[in-house]
Symmetry: C2
Subunit: 205 residues, 2 copies
DNA sequence: TAGATTGTTAATCGATTAACAATC
DNA sequence: TAGATTGTTAATCGATTAACAATC
């Protein structure tokens, strides 16, 4: 058992999830691997192989039930339970996430924001209280968040990450342009590097 | 000749570029495939294979010249020439990009922003003039931008993309959560889907 | 020169695709 | 039942790794 799921499969799951949400919103109840593959630019084989990494969600002669498959994927990706998160740095990018991103859809609840600007401390952004970075341990203790979102200036990112890991954070969603990866092996980090996709776009043009 | 470069290689190039910039900033003039590989979590073989897709940048017994390799990659990715870009939607995310992202480093010059909010039209954000969406064709004609950055509400994204392509845009950097991919085959699109990396993080925790 | 490290070919590994029997 | 479509095995393809001769 316990066959290791390849990273390629894991990275396709969020796209399946998004398409299944769209299908569900459009009132479509069932879909075949072929139709889903066409829609997403994959092959039917690949779609079936991917889902069969996690067990048989389909039914021969029928296809897949959209709602069922969608919630199976939510379960696989663990976005069906609620996790607390904090956001560090409430500049434009932090604010953009706080006010536009649908955290709830991905099982995440923002419990606190941190900033060094004294004018912001004590205020709320999108309903989330803003604390001083010096209150970090105290808030962590109280709220027990699992995820830290780093939207602070690059120069402070590494120190903040270390402090957060020491205080018990379980995963880091990193929007700064440094690679946090290699120095904290037991805490997963997902880096969002805008420049990477811009460079790829530039190459493709 | 003209051996097709694999997508895996293309997607690693931005990371090489970033690490080479860091090395250069740190005053390091040369690096071997092995040292670079360790730093990036790759193998030496892979590093050499990757660079040899584009020609021999190294020197036996010495390694690679950091500055030279860095600018070779900039050339390969076409970020060494200047391209105009426009940004559509100046909410928090658009503003965050305009004020924090180092476009120049990637060969991109923001020439105009568009928004539907009458209060913003005629103002400037981070030195870039904000226009009404109705002025789009006129501004496109004058500035001839190649890249459109979509940071507008999801519901308007597809229509905006179509209008921009019709007006001659060459590539789309899409920050909305819809997949623009499949309907405009000749204009490359890079999608930045925040939710995908959050879901992967959630899975890894 | 000797040591280091590349460029490149060959071997391995893993992921995608094809095929088809099972079955709803 | 007949038709459709899955689950799954086998075949193919491509990407990564290993090895080593070339050479700075």
């Amino acid at each position: 058992m316990e066959k290791r799921i390849s990273s390629a499969v894991i990275h396709r799951m969020p796209r399946y999830f998004r398409h299944l949400c769209d299908l569900q919103d459009a009132g479509i109840a069932r879909i075949s691997s072929g139709t889903l593959a066409d829609r997403m630019g994959l092959t039917a084989s690949q779609v079936r192989q991917d889902f069969n990494c996690f067990g048989g969600f389909g039914q021969q002669g029928y296809g897949y039930n959209v709602a069922e498959l969608r919630s199976a994927i939510a379960g696989i990706m663990h976005i069906d339970r609620e996790r607390g998160a904090i956001i560090v740095g409430t500049g434009n990018l932090g604010k953009a996430l706080m006010s536009n991103f649908n955290f709830q859809k991905y099982g995440v609840r923002l419990v606190a924001a941190f900033d060094s600007n004294p004018l912001l401390i004590g205020t709320e952004i999108a309903g989330v209280p803003v604390y001083s970075c010096r209150q970090m341990e105290e808030v962590m203790e109280r709220e027990q968040p699992q995820i830290a979102i780093l939207t602070l200036p690059k120069m402070h990112a590494r120190a903040a990450a270390q402090k957060l890991v020491a205080a018990g954070i379980k995963g880091i969603w990193n929007f700064t342009s440094i690679d946090l990866h290699l120095d904290m092996p037991n805490v997963p980090v997902e880096n969002v590097h805008f420049s990477e996709s811009l460079m790829v776009l530039s190459y493709k043009i």
